[in-house]
Symmetry: C2
């Protein structure tokens, strides 16, 4: 009964144009030949794979779920076969550097493949996503010997990887990790402790699982400066790279969750498990941060994917469902009419679709900046890192928050049928709900933005972004068709800049509590304006690309930009008052009285 | 692991004060002795019942669910015993008129009991709620003989009732109902057709179920003017009021839903089932509308209940969970600190709690207006009907939409634990998601507001409401402590009035499409301002009632009003632009292109 997934190939390709990706990525030597000739077939191939292999087992993953028995995790029916195809097709490693056996494609491109694969089956895609985190953790920080030992099989997907950060008493705040790592005479460590929220910590898809585990060595400093990172394989790897004996690592339970049922969330128990130190002792948190940015951008991608997946279902249902007579339509015309002709249903679909576009451009741009931060030259690397730094908390939180709202709206389009699990639309809503939580809650993203990112590079980073937005407002205002859009965007940009200045002054004055109290509405306001920037770019790009043949597609893009800037962007103003308000009010109620 | 429910007795009682219920209800003769001496013990008793009997089986209802086997619906473990107690305690019939055996309490009071009972166990309460609909349907429209036959057992709860409106092709739009009713020589009718979304259509809680079924008699006019209402008992009732033979009425399946698992949603099959006409033929839709208002207000109540229930969980978790150091707090102080000391977590809790208050006042006021519409004298009945008319779509849609957002926020307070079903917080989120759908989707509420309600009584109804809001802005502005609040509320009221005038002009000009396209943002804006009105009243009431003994409670209420008016009310402005915008944009994209 669920709508079969059809990847929005043309929209994805258009996003690369909006971001001028082919030209901009030429600044990175290894991507100098990246072009539509590479991107389009890759996206088309990905679409085919997602539609034919992953989408058909999405609902199975949800209803059946991963199951836990006698210490083993059994993945849902069909996942093993699909993983085999996924691995062989190289989707797992598409954007990993070719030096370690990856596909060497830009992260920009894998923004598109992530969206498509994940919209088809988010639970399935989460596991390989975590492997990417482990691979980056090893690739950026481990020794050559370690890289040689673990990377080839991780990159090929024959093994998978995990990130083991949280413990029961230590989730958002990793300072209080207590897992112990005792050095042994042979240079290895014995790891002991319990780790929670370990995505794909145990499963039956691959022959080995390489855990990256944060732990403390004896006598290490308190807090975050005393955390080290260890490689703890499920099965130890011999010097000749064959598999050796089983390590003492166990999954002791999996969580029963609201969604992503096909992705096992494990409690992992380490008891004198053999671990191998990565890099230096006490540098584990820094190593972890090299991978967390990627994970945050991906979490935004998950939100985007749930939204665009849900949009398809809602649009299809609205096209099919005959019900009621649209206001102002004659009885005769109404006979061939479905609920998509109702203005209020249209508003819901337009809202989901234009937000989807804004989210897509934002997330792919963030990925493009990741490309620069990883592979840029001296001139462009810093820019990439900084721009990526400021975009990441916004894209992660803004997109993932919206994805809950928009998948909920998709349910509403279905009416009563949306509440019935059989239609599959509720799964998107349940799956989407994790994205605001993992990879750092959205509250943490907001604090990151306000305390670390707007002051980056003495504020130049955020100002450069504002200048880019301003440039788009000018182009819109200079354009007869878009003058109005430019003015609206400009007004909201001005408001955002004023608010940013006000916050900067408060921060300089040392009023940290104010900043922490208004961080969330500030991020929401910033996201809404940033979305306007991308939608402005999209309108300008669509106008340039319109040809007689394809005018409908591009006109639609202009319509979506118009709708966003005229009707959704203004919601940004609603946050201004919150941000300016006295925040003492937050603490005027005793905590027992809530 | 789930937090045990503790009813917010003091908040509920305070709401009656904010609405000046005891004085205002004196205008209705039958409620002239309604007083705190009646209300307080009733709410306390209700709290005890909800906490001790209903809350303990809330999670059972969710995880076990109602099950369907061989045409029978088996309710979750514990529901039967609880229903027996519920019935005996009289909660089912508290606000039904004493003339038919009800408790004769005002609906105002049952706003409070609905909130409490439903926050403890929404799935459980839905069934008896539907009985109330059937009872009203019979009580207002059926013959004396029919009333005598069915009402006593329905009111006592020995039997339950249902409303059978929707069919597969006819949900939001009841014009296309095809269920047939063929008159028989003995004056009865043979009913044949399939009905869907029938809450508690079958279950094992009561010995009989009285279905009210909409159907068409032969030769009846097309559309809504040809629909009649029938009583179709599961077991026929003999003339001596004993149970007779089984009627040919069958539940053929129940839906697997996102939430409210303890409430069976049935597909009912009628095949030459014996039915009894209520009132006149072809008047069924009018009869139905006499009960639908109640159902809509209750749907808002469900949203309120999910929100206040979720708030408790989130607040308790935030008080218990040790994690991170609040910005600006010393390491030493942070040792005894939990996440409730983080400004961003506070913002979430303050948002949920102040919206909860606004929602509560709005919903109870709506119930109070229902009291007037049912039991008022000539002078007050019309006012009650009209005010109830305008409040109902707003309270239903604004509250139920918000309840999804706020229960989602409650999950966010829990972080990762919020996503784990075990904590119980996700159940509130899943349960809440139905309220924007049933009893008329929120889109339909918005159309009702804009097309039928703002023009009620030549616009005097809405203007009287605006005058009431204006009166509160004046009282706030005249009050030294609340001057600022009065100004903010006044500005937003002015904006709402301007927008309302603009819409009226468009409507007079015949631009119905514009109105239908902006109905939802208009309702949201109206709800946000109306919430400000109630929060203003609450601040004024709290200030008057503050005594040395109870100052903390009342100061908290003032703080919540301040937070709402300063920080949440301004979101109303964000909708202005949408409502003013050209809505052609909604139809510029071909439906195939979404």
């Amino acid at each position: 009964m669920a709508v079969s997934y059809k990847a929005p190939v043309k929209d994805v390709i258009f996003a690369f144009d909006v971001l001028d990706s082919y030209n901009i990525l030429k600044k990175i030597e290894r991507f100098s030949d990246f072009s539509p000739e590479i991107a389009v077939p890759a996206i088309e191939e990905c679409a085919k794979f997602a539609e034919e292999v992953l989408a058909p087992i999405n609902s199975v993953g949800d209803t059946h779920g991963a199951t836990f028995k006698d210490g083993k995790v059994i993945m849902p029916p069909g996942f093993l076969e699909a993983y085999d195809k996924f691995k062989k097709a190289g989707w797992a490693s598409m954007s990993l550097p070719y030096e370690i056996g990856g596909g060497g494609m830009p992260y920009t491109l894998s923004g598109g493949t992530l969206e498509i694969l994940c919209a088809a089956n988010m639970s399935f895609v989460l596991g390989p996503g975590l492997s990417i985190g482990a691979i980056s953790g090893i690739n950026f920080n481990a020794s050559e010997t370690q890289k040689d030992k673990y990377l080839p099989k991780l990159v090929s997907g024959d093994w998978t990887g995990t990130m083991n950060l949280s413990e029961p008493q230590s989730g958002s705040d990793l300072n209080h990790i207590t897992t112990k790592a005792e050095p042994q005479e042979d240079g290895t460590y014995k790891i002991t402790g319990t780790k929670i929220w370990i995505g794909s910590g145990e499963h039956d898809l691959a022959e080995n699982i390489i855990h990256l585990v944060l732990a403390r060595t004896p006598g290490s400093p308190e807090g975050s400066k005393g955390i080290s990172m260890f490689i703890v394989p499920k099965i130890l790897v011999n010097d000749d790279n064959t598999l050796g004996k089983k390590n003492n690592v166990h999954c002791i339970s999996i969580e029963e969750k609201l969604g992503i049922h096909g992705s096992p969330t494990c409690v992992m128990e380490y008891k004198n498990s053999t671990g191998f130190l990565i890099g230096e002792e006490n540098s584990g948190l820094n190593y972890m941060f090299t991978t967390i940015n990627e994970a945050r951008i991906r979490a935004g991608g998950h939100g985007l994917a749930c939204t665009t997946g849900a949009l398809q279902g809602a649009a299809q249902y609205a096209r099919d469902r005959v019900q009621g007579r649209p206001v102002g339509m004659s009885k005769e015309d109404a006979k061939n009419s479905t609920i998509i002709d109702h203005a209020d249903v249209r508003r819901m679909l337009m809202t989901i679709k234009s937000y989807s576009d804004a989210m897509r451009y934002m997330m792919y741009d963030n990925q493009m900046m990741l490309d620069f931060s990883y592979f840029g030259d001296e001139d462009t690397k810093d820019f990439g890192e900084e721009r990526c730094g400021i975009l990441t908390p916004i894209s992660k939180a803004w997109i993932s928050d919206l994805s809950v709202e928009l998948t909920s709206m998709a349910i509403q389009v279905y009416g009563g049928m949306g509440y019935v699990e059989e239609t599959g639309i509720a799964q998107y809503f349940r799956d989407a709900r994790i994205a605001p939580i993992y990879a750092g809650t959205n509250g943490i993203q907001a604090l990151d933005l306000i305390f670390r990112k707007i002051s980056l590079n003495d504020g130049n980073t955020v100002n450069e972004l504002f200048e880019d937005i301003e440039e788009i407002t000018k182009q819109l205002m200079d354009n007869n068709g878009f003058k109005n859009l430019g003015e609206i965007l400009s007004n909201h940009l001005t408001q955002l800049k004023e608010i940013t200045n006000l916050l900067n002054i408060k921060l300089i004055e040392g009023d940290l509590t104010h900043a922490s109290g208004v961080a969330t509405p500030y991020l929401k306001m910033f996201g809404q304006v940033l979305g306007g920037y991308y939608m402005g770019k999209a309108a300008l790009t669509a106008q340039k690309q319109t040809t007689d043949k394809d005018s409908e597609f591009y006109n639609d893009k202009i319509t979506l930009s118009k709708f966003y800037i005229e009707q959704l962007l203004p919601l940004a103003s609603g946050y201004e008052q919150s941000i300016k308000s006295d925040i003492d009010v937050l603490f005027n109620i005793n905590s027992g009285n809530f």
